[in-house]
Structure formats: structure tokens, C-alpha cells
Symmetry: C2
Subunit: 339 residues, 2 copies
């Protein structure tokens, strides 16, 4: 157990760019559209983590990740005029698919700016959902600039992957459902990339399980969130290299950071090796496919460093979009060791 | 669509070794013990099969397969004296795990006779559940004889993997839940090894969805069930070689055959190649791990040979117990082609 509790956690929600009321509004928009994903439990996982674990399975969400929630909510919040001009999105993959799917369901044209090295499964799914794809090199080009130029040219609205109030509100609906199904929790472990899921989850936790310690989990190689959390301002890092391709962000969003700073208990990291072993555990014992980024929370739980024995621990499995060949290679790399 | 409808399907259930009343009794025993596994749907799967598919996910059952249902029910039906003497089971894996788990939960000692080449995951899980394991060579030794000798020596009761009324009744509870969740169906596709799941499913279908065509699905290399069904008596074949290691049976059980003969519409086969592509589909699009045997029903649905466009098709995913390394190798072998 780390002792670094967060002294500023008493901030009032009124100062936030988005509040739990926005999460509730997003939940109403998503009713009957997003899957109410299952909350799985596993005696084997409980024994391994020495806790009582509740896995919110957003890998079973439409589009294969929680991202559908925020994307759909953001598209639904557009004006009629904005809808007609279409939307543009950039992402390492899951957000792109989600915006493409949300656009198709709501009759809004979508253009997706994706890194050239995005997993093949994500690219083909985005294309299947009808999104127009424009590729860029994530190590040399700036995707925000590409998007801004396209938006100016086409009059379209950019829906960023995390730094956006309606996106954050949508992502918060997953944790809202988790608390609804599992009741109050002692700890909630959430994958942390740009901070959309973590910020939304923190808003839901504050409203529905106020004593829950909300913890962001990053890959060790990309701990910009941990650095930022500790420094008290957003810190930018070079593009990290990790198998957690959904968490290869260089910095938290500003909207996200303000909420995380106020409501999150701590930010911790796990190694890629822990992610691989956790991925194997999910396949072997729980029979679910979880992408590396989706393993962040469970890997932290299995480390037994962030909860006390017997505590009720929520885990947000963020997604399951991993190329089958990559997935096979990662499974082969796992040893089956306890992580 | 095959035209081979079954002329003897009007047989009265009174002549069967087990009836739907036994399935109902098994369901009562399993209440709160077995998982009520989810029924998943997938728009992508529906489009691929040109039908409306309902996947009953017994890969998410306790022990990783439907086998827990029959094993638990059979152990629960023992007398006090029988319980004290312990039980013996033989199987290619899933039944073994299931009996070990059922025994542990009900305080009954278990001895499991397993083939030497059973998947490592199945062996270690059986051991974890507290079963004593005795290995044999499936190509040279007779497991029934080994079991009978052990049973005589120890005074224990043999619980066979499929040819047993209480096992059949327990397996039927999965289809009973499927009809409860999805309503009546046009077709039900069921993995066929020794016939426990198929016979139980047919009893449930006759009672709950009488116009449903119940179809057994075997690996092409091990089509003893199809041969038997067409010949009108149980035909034995040499041990087949297929990746569907849960369906490597040499013959149907006699109890099973009498029910299958009367209530099943037809028995069809799929190739190992179709199983591999279906396994990849489950991983890539539905984010679930399904063992090769568990892919039989879905592979038949994706072949579009056994249902009409738009029909409501139930699929029993029998299990998800596959060694992660084997699973990775099979995923790598898949091409992503439509099957």
C-alpha cells in the first residue's frame, strides 16, 4: 500500500469542466445503444489478488472498448448543423473505431486520422464501420495539427479521444454501471492513457462510492500521468514504447487532469511483462480476450500493492481490440507465472 | 439446407432413459452453484451467418465448460454411502475437471483417469480442484477397463463422461437456460462428442421449443455420430485425430443414442480449418476464448448450410479450456477467411 493519499481530493465538483450530472445525461443517451457489459468475477482471480475483484468487461462493449461510450455521447451532443458537416477523430485505434461506429449509428460522416502502425484489426474494423481513414506517422507527425487542418478545410468538428467534456462524461458511464452492479468498492483500478476513462470513473466514484480509492494504472514506460499527478501539472513525455498501445499518450488532457488531480487517489505503473501474464490469465482462466491496455488494472490488482487483503476491488477492463497474430505472440511470450 | 429430416422424431419421451423432468430436477440442483452463463449476440456474427445467432457461453461456466452441469448433477444424485466411497471419472479433460470440482464442492473424493496427451491446462486445473489423476495412453489402453478395475478395488462409483442419465440431465440445463433467455429458436447447433450435451439439449428443445431443429456438429475426422445416426445404431470408429479434443470419442453412448435418434434432426460435420477460423472469429470479434470443440456449432452456422437466411439459430459453445500455447498456435494458423 502506498501512503501517497491525495491532499486536494476535497475539491468541489462545481469547478470541473464536467460533473456527475453529465455522466448521468450520457448514461441516458447510451441506454439501449451501448451494451451494459457484464461484471465478471473469478474465484481464481480473487485468490491470486487476495481480494474480491469485480471486472467490468468493456472488452465486450460495442466496438470492443469503452471508447464507444464517449464517442457516441460526443456525437449525440452535436448540433444539427455540426452533424451535417461531419466529424473528425484521431486515435491509436479504439477511439477511431468508436467514432466511426457512433457516426454510422447517428448518420454522421466520419474521418479518422490513425497512426500507420495501428493494429490491423483496429484499422479494418474502423473501415468496416464506414470511417474514412487518413494515416500519419506517430513518431514524426502531429496528429492534432493534421486534424485541425482537415477540420478547417471541411468545416467538420473534431472529437478528441479524451480531452473533451462529453467524451469524459460518456466514459464515466462504465464505472457508473460497475457501482450499480457491484455496489460500493474499496478500490477502483483504471487504465490510464489520456485520462478519459480515469476522469469519468473518478466522477462516478465520487457520486456513487465516495470512499473508494480511484487509482490510475499506466505502463511503466509511459508514466506521464504519474509524473503529472505528482508534479501537480501536465507533464509531456516522448512517445512511449509499450505493448499497451492504447496508453501510448504523451500527456494527459487538461480537462482530464483537473478532475484526476482532484479526485484520484494515486497513479501507479505496471511492466509490460505483468501485462503479458495478466493477458494470459484472462485467456486461460476467464476465457476472455483482453488487449494489453485492458490488462493494466488487473495487473495492478495481481501485484497486491494497491489494496489490502480482502478488499473489494473494481477493475475496468478497457478493451479487447488486439490483432489475433499479435495476441498469439503475446500469449506465447507469457510463462504462466504469478505476476 | 439438408433434407434429411428424421422420421422417428415423433417417439414419445416416456421410453427414454432420461426425460425433461430430470433436466428440470438438475436445474434445481444447479441453481446458485453453476453459473447462469450469458447468451451473447453479435451483429458481425449475424451478418456472417445470415441469421440471428444466440451464443450460449458455456466457456464461461465454472470449470470452463458445460461439463460441470452434468458432473455436479451426477454427484448430487449419489446416495450417502456412495458419496463416502468416492467417485472415479475418465475423460479427455473437461469432464475430469468438472467431476473434480463437483467432488470438491460436495465433499466427495475424486479419482480422474486422463489421457497422457490431455492439454496441460486441463491437467493442472483438475489437480488444482483436488482430483487424484491417473494417466493412460488413449491410443493403446482402454479407459473404461482402467476405471472399472479402480472402482472394484476402491468401491467407488464411476461417473462416465456422457453415457449416464444424470449426466445427460445436467447437460440439458444449458439449452434450457438458452431457450429461457432467447425464446424459441429455429435451429440449435450443438457440439457432439459422446452425446451428453446433444441428448440433454434435445430434451430441452422438445419441451421448450418443439419446432426447433436440433443438429449435432462433429469434427469431420470423427464423424462416428453422423454414421451412427444414419445407420440407426451405434457405430464405433478408431480414435479420431482432430483439434477438437473434446470430441475425440469413438462412439456415442447408448443412453445418448436413443435420445439423439429420436429427437435430433441431423448430424453434420465441419473441418478443423473451419474450427480454427471460427476460433479466431471468437477472439477477434467477440473477445472470448473458445476451445476447438466449442467452435463446432458456430462453424456450422458460418457454413450457412444448416439454416435458412434470417432464422434464429442457437449455438452451444461447449467450453473454453485450451492451453494458451496451443491456442496461440491455432490463432496464428487462422487466416481470417470467412469459413
Amino acid at each position: 500500500m502506498a501512503d501517497s493519499s491525495n491532499p486536494s481530493a476535497a475539491s468541489t465538483p462545481e469547478s470541473f469542466p464536467v460533473t456527475f450530472a453529465d455522466v448521468e445525461a450520457a448514461a441516458a443517451r447510451l441506454e439501449g445503444v451501448a451494451h451494459r457489459t457484464p461484471v465478471m468475477t473469478s474465484r481464481t482471480a480473487d485468490a491470486r489478488a487476495e481480494g474480491r475483484l469485480f471486472f467490468k468487461c468493456e472488452n465486450l462493449q460495442r466496438g470492443g472498448a469503452f471508447k464507444f461510450r464517449g464517442a457516441y455521447n460526443a456525437v449525440a451532443a452535436l448540433s444539427e448543423g455540426q452533424r451535417r458537416q461531419g466529424v473528425i477523430a484521431y486515435s491509436s485505434g479504439n477511439h477511431a473505431q468508436a467514432v466511426a461506429l457512433a457516426g454510422r449509428l447517428q448518420g454522421v460522416a466520419t474521418t479518422i486520422v490513425m497512426p500507420k502502425d495501428a493494429p490491423g484489426a483496429k484499422v479494418s474494423a474502423t473501415r468496416e464501420y464506414g470511417g474514412e481513414i487518413i494515416f500519419y506517422d506517430r513518431y514524426t507527425e502531429n496528429r492534432e495539427e493534421i486534424c485541425a487542418a482537415l477540420a478547417a478545410e471541411r468545416g467538420a468538428t473534431v472529437i478528441p479521444p479524451y480531452d473533451h467534456p462529453q467524451v469524459i462524461a460518456g466514459q464515466g458511464t462504465a464505472a457508473r454501471e460497475l457501482f450499480g452492479a457491484a455496489g460500493e468498492l474499496d478500490v477502483l483500478l483504471v487504465s490510464l492513457g489520456g485520462g478519459g476513462l480515469l476522469a469519468g470513473s473518478a466522477l462516478a466514484a465520487q457520486a456513487l462510492s465516495p470512499r473508494c480509492r480511484v487509482i490510475g494504472v499506466e505502463p511503466e514506460a509511459g508514466n506521464d500521468g504519474q509524473q503529472s499527478f505528482r508534479a501537480g501539472h501536465v507533464i509531456r513525455i516522448p512517445v512511449p514504447r509499450s505493448i499497451a498501445d492504447g496508453a501510448l499518450t504523451t500527456h494527459l488532457g487538461e480537462n482530464n487532469f483537473s478532475i484526476i488531480q482532484a479526485l484520484v487517489h494515486e497513479v501507479v505503473t505496471v511492466t509490460d511483462g505483468m501485462l503479458v501474464e495478466t493477458m494470459r490469465f484472462f485467456a486461460e482462466r476467464m476465457k476472455i480476450v483482453v488487449e494489453p491496455t485492458g490488462c493494466l488494472g488487473a495487473a495492478a490488482a495481481f501485484s497486491k500493492q494497491h489494496h489490502r487483503p480482502g478488499e473489494r476491488v473494481g477493475i475496468l477492463i478497457s478493451g479487447g481490440n488486439v490483432d489475433p497474430t499479435t495476441y498469439a505472440d503475446l500469449l506465447r511470450r507469457a510463462t504462466g507465472a504469478q505476476v
